[in-house]
């Protein structure tokens, strides 16, 4: 490897445009040895984004590390990633099918669609609160874009999401159900919007918890409330029709997880209403999801995406401001 001293910058030549990094020094191997890194107290949003992109390999590695550590000492290992959601699914299924006696067909699939979305969000948000605090050893010793730690929890949740999707596909085959193939294109869009939103929340929470350790407990409670505010175990229309009377449907939809969960339900469950038979004679139709076309869902996803990108940038700025004193606060 050539060294700075062996190849000094030619005298009088214009030095390479300095790379300005707010607080985080980052070196990319293979770059010029005359590359200049500037450390100062400012937050450079553009540079942060560039750094994140440059270090996507590191994100993969951190995600792998997290997964490895997570299941390292447990006997069942990765099986836990499946057992946990399976148990949650089973509990809700029991409550609604056996105790509340819902007549919704294939209720398990309906539940699964919503839980899939929720688990991704929930696991990342919950995991992110402790990820920076838990990695104090690394943060105190090495400079790197620390947002990646928060994003690695999103990565972990994404891996678990993928495993669960696999199981869902098995369920669909088992129940001989087919998703709405024509609307399938909505799913990747919804997933991307969800990932951006989840990353924003995770980055924000990870930084705040360093200074306010209550955050992790508060998040736990808030997420529980958030879960019930999101149409996952109950259909959107159940609450939506009530809210519509007061013109408050928008408020319901302001929860970014709601449109995403609805999209998954709409496409995978592939039913917006069902007819239940009561007392052997009367047929009651129950609306599950609003009977809008794909464009409505696409629009909702679009709104969530745009808002999430804004939140993501905001989270990076907040993180950048708080990051400066991580090493001393931890």
């Amino acid at each position: 490897m050539a060294l700075g001293v062996d190849q000094p910058a030619p005298a009088g030549s214009e030095p390479e445009r300095p790379m300005i990094i707010g607080g985080s020094t980052r070196f990319v191997p293979g770059q010029s040895h005359d590359r200049i890194t500037i450390v100062n107290g400012k937050v450079q949003l553009g540079q942060r984004l560039v750094d994140l992109w440059r270090n996507r390999d590191l994100l993969m590695l951190l995600t792998r590390t997290e997964l490895k550590v997570k299941y390292k000492e447990s006997v069942l290992g990765y099986a836990w990633s499946m057992l946990n959601p399976a148990l949650v699914l089973a509990i809700y299924y029991m409550i609604f099918k056996v105790i509340s006696r819902t007549q919704q067909p294939h209720f398990a699939i309906w539940l699964f669609c919503g839980l899939l979305v929720w688990n991704l969000f929930n696991n990342s948000a919950q995991g992110s609160t402790t990820v920076v605090v838990g990695k104090a050893g690394i943060i105190k010793k090495v400079a790197f874009p620390r947002e990646l730690l928060a994003m690695s929890t999103v990565g972990v949740a994404m891996v678990l999401f993928a495993i669960q999707v696999g199981v869902l596909i098995l369920f669909l085959i088992g129940f001989q159900l087919t998703p709405d193939w024509g609307s399938l294109w909505l799913l990747p869009l919804a997933l991307i919007a969800l990932l951006v939103f989840t990353s924003a929340v995770s980055i924000f929470l990870s930084a705040v918890n360093v200074y306010l350790r209550d955050t992790q407990h508060l998040t736990e409670v808030a997420l529980m409330a958030w879960f019930w505010l999101t149409p996952i175990v109950y259909p959107f229309e159940q609450l939506g029709t009530h809210l519509a009377k007061y013109h408050l449907t928008w408020l319901y939809l302001a929860n970014p997880v709601t449109p995403i969960a609805m999209t998954f339900q709409r496409v995978i469950y592939n039913q917006t209403s069902y007819v239940a038979t009561k007392n052997n004679s009367s047929h009651v139709a129950t609306q599950l999801l609003p009977a809008y076309g794909d464009s409505w869902y696409a629009m909702m996803i679009g709104i969530v995406f745009v808002v999430s990108v804004g939140l993501f940038l905001l989270a990076l700025i907040v993180f950048g401001r708080l990051e400066g004193n991580f090493a001393e606060e931890l």
């Binding site: 700075g4 001293v5 191997p29 890194t37 390999d57 590390t65 490895k68 105190k140 010793k141 400079a143």
Partner: protein
């Protein structure tokens, strides 16, 4: 020559909370504001470190030297000012790098290498060298949490140096590990120096500075005291460390129910008056004031000298007839004269005592009552000033240089350095 690191007007403020309140409840009670004392760990620090230079930062604990290093590394953000670093950088801060205790050594090498900015392929290329350097071949697949602290540090250092950074920041790590590993680290530092890499060492070990650094910066209270060559820097550091009252006179004394008491103890040396310290080989005189209520005919004066790590350097023979003193009523002055102090750098404390020559009674003992300090203007290191006579001659006839034969096959003779060529 270009600068490797430019530090411009760097200030760093820490907030010292009287009691750390990180819970929401406490914050709400306090109305969002928490009482804190601003503490400036760094104040307007300016320094240029040249490419290829080995630069030392000296200072006592809490002077801001580690904070500065962390700012240069980008781990802490300065409150104001700017640092420019040219080229790639790796830092060895305190013990070990940021390892994940649950992961194996192998996984940690990859994680740490990636954090330092290497790609997977890069790390794979260096992997064997790192493991060999750390001497952890047998344990590399074990979880790091089972490592001894020495293994931990070796692995950390191995990764940091094998990243081959343009700028290496080292914080005190050279002081850890066993002797052979320390030598290996120093060899590697020397290799880095030859290759023209920039090294910044933070320490309060003056001998490391003296041997390795080209320039030394002395810091105190977050400010730069001086930037100078190692000899001068270490002298300033030692003077600063001990403050103006280097050779403090003990104020304690007085007689309390004892026949004899030691009063003021005073150290005087060849450099007294002009210098705070003495040079190796200069004379030293310790005088102790004795007060006595009654005549003490059979007394023995004793003296002991400890170094700054509280290790005994010298204690006088308690039964040496030379130490016998006869103290009349009213007391007097006892004088210990060392014509030559064969010590190198360090701060030494002096304890003085008077005991009975006939029984085990101790009349008085003043533990570490005064200090003196030795500063070595030369480049030799260690504790004792030995003056070896070094000469060289060619091997004469009859000296074949062969390794002596070993009768049993129990052990193989260790090859001595320099013997390989002659036996080959």
């Amino acid at each position: 020559m270009a600068t490797a690191i430019e530090v411009r007007d760097i200030s760093k403020q820490f907030k010292l909370y009287t009691e750390k309140q990180t819970s929401l409840k406490e914050r709400i009670i306090k109305g969002g504001k928490m009482p804190f004392t601003p503490f400036w760990a760094l104040r307007d620090v300016n320094v240029d470190i040249m490419q290829g230079e080995t630069f030392g930062i000296l200072g006592r604990n809490g002077c801001g030297k580690s904070t500065l290093l962390k700012c240069i590394a980008g781990i802490l953000k300065p409150t104001s000012g700017e640092i420019r670093v040219r080229g790639s950088l790796a830092a060895m801060l305190e013990l070990g790098a940021g390892f994940q205790p649950d992961l194996s050594g192998r996984d940690n090498i990859f994680l740490n290498g990636s954090l330092l900015g290497l790609s997977h392929a890069d790390i794979e290329k260096r992997y064997d060298a790192i493991v060999a350097f750390a001497e952890l071949e047998d344990f590399i697949d074990n979880q790091v949490k089972f490592y001894s602290s020495g293994m931990y540090v070796r692995l950390g250092f191995a990764v940091a140096v094998n990243v081959e950074p343009d700028v290496l920041l080292v914080d005190e790590v050279l002081a850890v590990g066993d002797a052979s590993f320390q030598r290996k680290c120093l060899d590697h530092v020397k290799k880095f120096q030859r290759e023209g890499r920039t090294i910044v060492v933070v320490s309060h070990a003056t001998d490391v500075m003296r041997q390795n650094c080209e320039r030394v910066m002395v810091m105190n209270h977050g400010q730069v005291i001086t930037i100078a060559d190692p000899g001068e820097g270490i002298r300033v550091f030692l003077a600063d460390l001990l403050g103006v009252g280097t050779l403090e006179h003990s104020e304690s004394g007085g007689i309390e129910g004892n026949v004899l008491a030691i009063g003021v103890v005073h150290a005087d040396h060849g450099g007294s008056g002009e210098r705070m310290h003495l040079y190796p080989g200069e004379s030293l005189t310790i005088t102790a004031d004795l007060d006595s209520l009654a005549p003490v005919p059979n007394a023995m004066a004793t003296i002991a000298i400890h170094d700054d790590k509280n290790e005994l350097v010298f204690a006088s023979d308690p039964d040496d007839p030379m130490c016998a003193i006869e103290v009349p009523e009213g007391g007097g002055i006892v004088r210990f004269h060392f014509p030559e102090v064969p010590l190198l750098d360090g701060t030494y404390s002096v304890s003085v005592g008077v005991r009975s020559a006939t029984d085990t009674a101790i009349y008085d003992w003043k533990d570490q009552v005064t200090k003196f300090e030795v500063a070595n203007p030369g480049r030799s290191t260690g504790r004792v000033r030995l003056l070896p006579d070094i000469s060289f001659r060619l091997r004469g006839l009859g000296l074949t240089g062969e390794v002596p034969a070993v009768s049993s096959g129990d052990y193989a003779p260790l090859p001595l350095p320099g013997w390989e060529e002659s036996t080959a």
